[in-house]
């Protein structure tokens, strides 16, 4: 609180000097540049990590760090797409359905226990294409048919699950391509390949956010869709692009998940929607859009992953884990949005 109050005072001084000096350019002080609300989740992450280190000595070990990275990798991939969608003021509920459809497409085209296919890399590409199609489909329904993204992607979620169930048939297709099966967990560079994929996706997402019209226009659309239109941004086109990008990443996550499990199941993405969306919001991206970014979501993903991991290590009963995770999320969201909520602001 004192941080935000302090910031406002700085704001005011700047404004005051500004008025006196009329046209003098207000160069923000370095202090002003620090965005305190952004730092909140990071500080929480550090504090919680330190606390767990004291509670259980096995928390701060290299093997546990690797476990945390592994656990975080799929949510990280998903969160990058979700961040862009949420920044735009939309929501993507379809990720679990898309993951299932991509995952099963991938298994059934790789060497597997059900059919004679063996397309190797081709199977991966096919899985990604399925993600892209689903993402573009969500975007098109949302923009062209003018259906709120919440409803459009809710439907696509179930379409994805349905497609996956049909593909699944009646026996579990096991992944039998030895190279692909072990790839996600292999550690040729010291860390698992799956983690490296996540890191690459994060870097790409950050670059998109900073240096491409995809990211910048998503930000503009999130701020005010009508103004964006008046500023000649092709809003619908960019919405479709963003949903397609998110669909692609759901595909990546579905394939990674399937490689990990070793067989194709419809539940491959189970629980990911809640986890990713919560991580994005906890990280400090506003659900209303226009404010936030991929790096904040990275912090959010790690915050939630560390809490889950730490609770297990601390011997908390699994019965309580969900309860505690839920409380932490609600608390984090309350703290994150404290500054944005003036009393007359309407919350929907």
């Amino acid at each position: 609180m004192s941080d935000t109050a302090h910031e406002t005072v700085v704001d005011q001084r700047l404004e005051a000097t500004h008025h006196c000096a009329h046209q003098v350019n207000a160069k923000p002080s370095p202090l002003h540049r620090i965005n305190w609300p952004t730092l909140g989740p990071l500080i929480a992450l550090v504090v919680i990590s330190i606390a767990f280190t004291f509670i259980n000595s096995s928390f701060a070990t290299w093997s546990n760090m690797r476990a945390i990275l592994d656990q975080a990798s799929i949510p990280l991939v998903l969160a990058m797409g979700a961040t862009l969608v949420i920044l735009m003021g939309s929501i993507d509920l379809s990720i679990q359905g898309v993951m299932a459809a991509s995952g099963l497409t991938f298994v059934l085209l790789s060497a597997n226990s059900v059919n004679g296919n063996e397309f190797g890399i081709g199977a991966i590409i096919a899985g990604l294409v399925v993600g892209v199609i689903f993402g573009a489909f969500s975007g098109i329904i949302h923009t062209k048919l003018r259906i709120p993204s919440f409803m459009a992607t809710l439907g696509v979620w179930y379409i994805g699950l349905g497609v996956a169930t049909v593909l699944f048939g009646d026996t579990v297709p096991e992944l039998e391509d030895a190279g692909l099966l072990s790839w996600a967990n292999a550690t040729p560079l010291g860390i698992a390949n799956g983690v490296l994929v996540a890191v690459a996706v994060v870097i790409i997402a950050v670059l998109i956010m900073r240096f491409s019209s995809l990211g910048r226009n998503a930000l503009a659309i999130g701020a005010d869709e009508n103004l964006a239109r008046l500023n000649s941004i092709p809003v619908n086109r960019y919405k479709i692009y963003v949903f397609t990008f998110a669909g692609l990443l759901s595909g990546v996550a579905g394939i990674l998940g399937t490689m990990r499990i070793g067989n194709g199941i419809v539940e491959v993405g189970s629980g990911q929607l809640f986890f990713t969306t919560a991580a994005v919001v906890v990280g400090g991206t506003l659900l209303s859009g226009g404010r936030g970014g991929p790096l904040r979501s990275v912090v959010g993903v790690f915050l939630l992953t560390v809490i889950n991991n730490g609770l297990i290590l601390s011997g908390a009963s699994p019965v309580y884990q969900q309860l505690i995770a839920g409380i932490v999320i609600v608390t984090a969201v309350v703290l994150a949005g404290l500054r944005q909520r003036s009393r007359l602001r309407i919350i929907k």
Partner: protein
């Protein structure tokens, strides 16, 4: 190109009708190169239609549009830009979470020709974008850092970016630009308007300017020539140096000159109704003490960030405060909540009329009864017939036009909406305190006068009124007393019954 005296713009007998209504009726206007032309008129006089015509949004039914000697017929908004016409709209067009440079880039995106800084794959070259933005800003004499996020800018600076954007678009055509500034000062504080006035003088060097404003004094100061529109016709064309404000007002409204005397000053005041002691909200205002008596209109003036807006909202309970006390009619109120404020007969008129003051989609009579129960309302049970009858009387009393209690409030003009929003509070049987946050903002002079009249009547009936004034003139014209705030504290107090302060004196307390 042929002769020096060729006009930048000439409208010859331009008529525009919507259905059977003539929005513009044989309008003749000319703008010479490097001339600032003022355009004034009440709401509905045809100003916005005229601007939309020039921007290419509407097309005239008859008459000619001659731009730099060439007859033109504009079909799309981009035609205006291609002919060197740049419009700074009344509403902000900037995307606030992007940088200044990005906004200027977006502004240029509508014009044909190469767009540098963003390649075909949509990848940004920030250095190039920033450099371009800096050039565009320098051109209009502004030194705003192009990497600043727009929401960190003051309103004046945002206005500068809007102007840079319009100039950039207009100059793309290669001709000397014609810039249209639509109500550019509507939400600026007095000393900020000065900056804008200087800017207009600078734009005059670049090309021609059409300056649209409600504020007659400003129009007089910045324009070389002034056109007055009324009911779609040009009812007057004056050289600024040959005309006084009174005459413009009369031309514009068709009414006799407004009363300049401030009637409020002579009023006998009653007991203290609102008394504030040491009210503080960290970072916004500190140790504010004042009191307002029954029948008193106390006008608050101050620049952006002076804390007066937050103070007003805190008194109504819409925003918190940290310490201090205040009492309404002798009863202390340690903290305020909106419902309690309303029950203790405190009213608040928000500055954001459209989003906070009224409920669009509800009828006039429903809006009127939102805050206080009236006849025909018993708890949750509402009797529309009885309510309508009660509302008819109020609507007649406040002269809301059209006098239809069932019309959607969103369809009324700004002035009439404001009357309804004020009426919502004033129809309480015994209103004690009214906190009016910029009640006259964005209203045309005629509507301003009738709203001011409503306020004066409420005060005369014994209400204590805290008025956040848009301009110093407004404060001097409607208040019994003036309180000047700066950086969250009160710097000056004036009792107008004793002495009327000079404008310069007030400004001194603000900066």
């Amino acid at each position: 190109m042929t002769v020096i005296t060729e006009n930048t713009l000439e409208l010859v007998d331009v008529t525009k009708t919507f259905g059977s209504m003539k929005a513009l009726d044989s309008v003749n206007i000319r703008v010479a190169p490097h001339e600032v032309v003022g355009l004034i008129g009440e709401n509905g006089a045809g100003k916005s239609t005229l601007l939309k015509l020039l921007a290419g949004v509407h097309q005239q039914n008859s008459g000619e549009l001659i731009i730099r000697g060439q007859k033109q017929r504009m079909k799309a908004p981009s035609d205006g830009a291609n002919l060197g016409i740049g419009v700074v709209h009344q509403e902000q067009s900037l995307i606030v979470n992007l940088t200044v440079a990005e906004n200027l880039h977006l502004g240029s995106a509508g014009t044909p020709g190469e767009k540098r800084g963003v390649n075909r794959l949509g990848l940004y070259n920030w250095a190039e974008l920033n450099r371009q933005a800096e050039t565009a800003l320098r051109r209009i004499g502004s030194s705003i850092d192009p990497t600043t996020i727009v929401e960190d800018l003051s309103f004046t600076d945002r206005q500068m970016v809007e102007i840079a954007k319009a100039v950039q678009v207009a100059e793309h055509s290669g001709a000397e630009p014609l810039l249209i500034l639509d109500e550019p000062t509507a939400i600026l504080e007095p000393q900020e308007t000065e900056i804008l006035e200087r800017e207009v003088a600078r734009l005059k060097q670049l090309g021609s300017v059409i300056f649209v404003s409600h504020r007659l004094q400003e129009v007089l100061r910045v324009s070389d020539r002034i056109y007055v529109l009324r009911h779609g016709r040009v009812v007057g064309e004056r050289n600024s140096k040959d005309v006084v404000e009174e005459e413009l007002f009369q031309l514009m409204t068709g009414r006799e000159s407004r009363q300049t005397a401030n009637e409020a000053v002579g009023r006998t005041l009653g007991r203290q109704v609102l008394s504030v002691q040491g009210l503080t909200r960290r970072g916004h205002f500190r140790d504010v003490s004042f009191s307002i008596r029954a029948g008193e209109v106390c006008a608050f003036v101050g620049a952006n960030g002076s804390g007066r807006d937050e103070l007003a909202r805190a008194l109504f309970g819409a925003e918190p405060f940290d310490s201090g006390t205040f009492s309404v009619d002798g009863r202390p109120a340690r903290s305020m909540r909106i419902r309690r404020a309303i029950r203790s007969a405190v009213a608040y008129l928000p500055s954001e009329r459209k989003t906070e003051g009224m409920v669009a989609g509800l009828s006039v009579s429903e809006n009127l009864t939102l805050a206080h129960p009236v006849d025909g309302q018993n708890g949750p049970i509402q009797l529309p017939g009885k309510r309508r009858a009660a509302m008819r009387r109020w609507i007649a009393k406040m002269d809301v036009r059209p006098a239809d209690p069932d019309i959607d409030i969103a369809r009324l003009s700004g002035g009439n909406q404001q009357k309804v929003v004020l009426g919502k509070w004033f129809l309480a049987k015994k209103l004690k305190v009214a906190i009016l946050d910029h009640p006259l903002r964005g209203l045309d002079p005629g509507a301003k006068e009738s709203v001011a009249q409503l306020i004066a009547e409420a005060a005369a009936a014994g209400c204590a009124i805290m008025l956040l004034a848009d301009t110093l003139e407004e404060a001097l014209g409607n208040g019994n007393s003036i309180i000047v705030m700066k950086d969250g504290t009160i710097t000056e107090r004036h009792n107008l019954a004793e002495r009327i302060p000079a404008l310069a004196e007030l400004v001194e307390g603000m900066v």
